[in-house]
Structures are given as C-alpha cells and as structure tokens.
C-alpha cells in the first residue's frame, strides 16, 4: 500500500511541476517546441530529484536534520537548474533563444515550482485526506 501511495506521490509532484514550469515558460516566448522541451526536461529531472531528495532528507533523520536538509535541498535545486539549462540548450540549440535566455528560464521556472509544488501537493493531499475521512464516516 505504501508503494501505491508513493507512486501517487511521485505522479502528483511530477504533474504539478510540469504544469507550473510550462505555465512559467509560456511567459518567455519560446514557442510550442520550447514548451514541449520544458515538459520533457521536467520529466527527466523531477522524478530523480524527488527520489534522491526523499531518501537523503526524509529517509535519514538526525540531530542536524533541519540545517542539513535545507543545504541538501539548495544544492539539489541548483544542480537541477544547471542540468535543465544544459538539456534545454542541447535540445533547442538557438531555435528558442540564446543560452542566457534559457538560463533565465531555468532559474525562474524552478523557483516557481519550488514554491508552488509544495503548495499544490499539500492542498491536494489534505483535500483527499479530508474527502477520505468523510467517505469513511458516511
């Protein structure tokens, strides 16, 4: 059952991330190919990020947990920004703007998903939890 929840966890975070990152990318005038590339880049990095961060941070509680987890999340996010930038430059070359524009896009969309995804995640999970308790009570 936990594995089933974990698949749902992964899918929800992935869908929310793709949604937010594509929405933010649409502000950058990169065309439909660019938006498709953003969705694919998120598909590459997001599940790996969640799996690795999930294990490194939440799987290993210790006394320095808060400080270490913040540092790990920051390092992971910076790595994701750089990897996504590299993948976008590789996939789009100069058909959707230069490398500097794509770096700005990578920073902005990851900042937006960093803030937005936990909000969507918590909202959806709390909604489903409340719905489940209502159904169970009925």
């Amino acid at each position: 059952m936990t594995t089933l929840y974990a698949f749902g966890d992964l899918a929800l975070v992935l869908i929310a991330s793709i949604g937010i990152e594509v929405l933010v990318a649409s502000l950058f005038d990169i065309g439909d190919r660019g938006l498709a590339a953003v969705a694919l880049v998120t598909l590459v990095t997001n599940p790996v990020l969640n799996l690795v961060v999930g294990q490194l941070i939440y799987g290993n509680y210790s006394n320095d947990y808060p400080r270490r987890s913040i540092a790990l999340v920051i390092v992971a996010e910076v790595a994701v920004v750089l990897i996504e930038w590299g993948l976008l430059v590789w996939a789009l070359r100069k058909t959707a703007g230069g490398p500097r524009k794509l770096l700005g896009l990578s920073v902005t969309m990851n900042a937006a998903s960093f803030v937005g995804v936990p909000f969507i995640y918590v909202t959806v999970v709390m909604f489903l939890t409340n719905l489940w308790s209502l159904v169970a009570r009925a």
Binding site: T2, G54, T123, M126
Partner: protein
C-alpha cells in the same frame, strides 16, 4: 501564437501574486498536517518503495531524454536550413 499572448497577459500579474499567496500558505498548511505532508516523505518510508520506484523513475528519465534527443536533431536541421529573404511568390536572385 495569439493564445500564448493572451496566456502571457493573464499570467504576468497572476504568477507573482499566486507565488506570494503560496509562500504564505505553505508553512501553516504543513504545520496543520503535522509536518508529514512534504513531497518525498512517502517515498522515504520503506526501502521497498525505493526499490519499486527506481525502475519507473529510470524509465521516465529515459523517455524524457529520448524526446529531447529527437528534438535536438530537429533543432540542428532547423538551424542548417538557410534563411530565405524573399517573401512568398518572389524568387531570390
């Protein structure tokens, strides 16, 4: 591309306001959920979860990389096509 222009016009004011509201709401929501509802929390609960999810994650990564590789080839072809200055119906001389 007109629909993208409309989306941009709507989103430019909406995104910062939403991000600000989200930043305000996340902390109380997590506190209300007793700190257990963070992305990745469920992933870390059991080693079997990690083992079961790894092939799925690798498959998704491979799928994304394949799509990007195809797109990279298309981009290379688009760049190699010489730009034409003539409008439709005119000949370049």
């Amino acid at each position: 591309m007109a629909h993208l222009a409309i989306v941009r016009r709507v989103l430019i004011p909406v995104v910062p306001v939403t991000a600000w509201l989200a930043a305000l709401s996340v902390k109380p929501a997590i506190a209300a959920a007793d700190g257990i509802l963070l992305p990745g929390t469920i992933l870390a609960q059991e080693p079997t979860t990690w083992v079961a999810l790894t092939p799925v994650v690798l498959a998704l990564t491979a799928l994304g990389l394949y799509g990007l590789w195809k797109m990279s080839g298309d981009s290379r072809r688009m760049e190699s096509v010489p730009e034409c200055d003539a409008t439709e119906g005119e000949s370049v001389s």
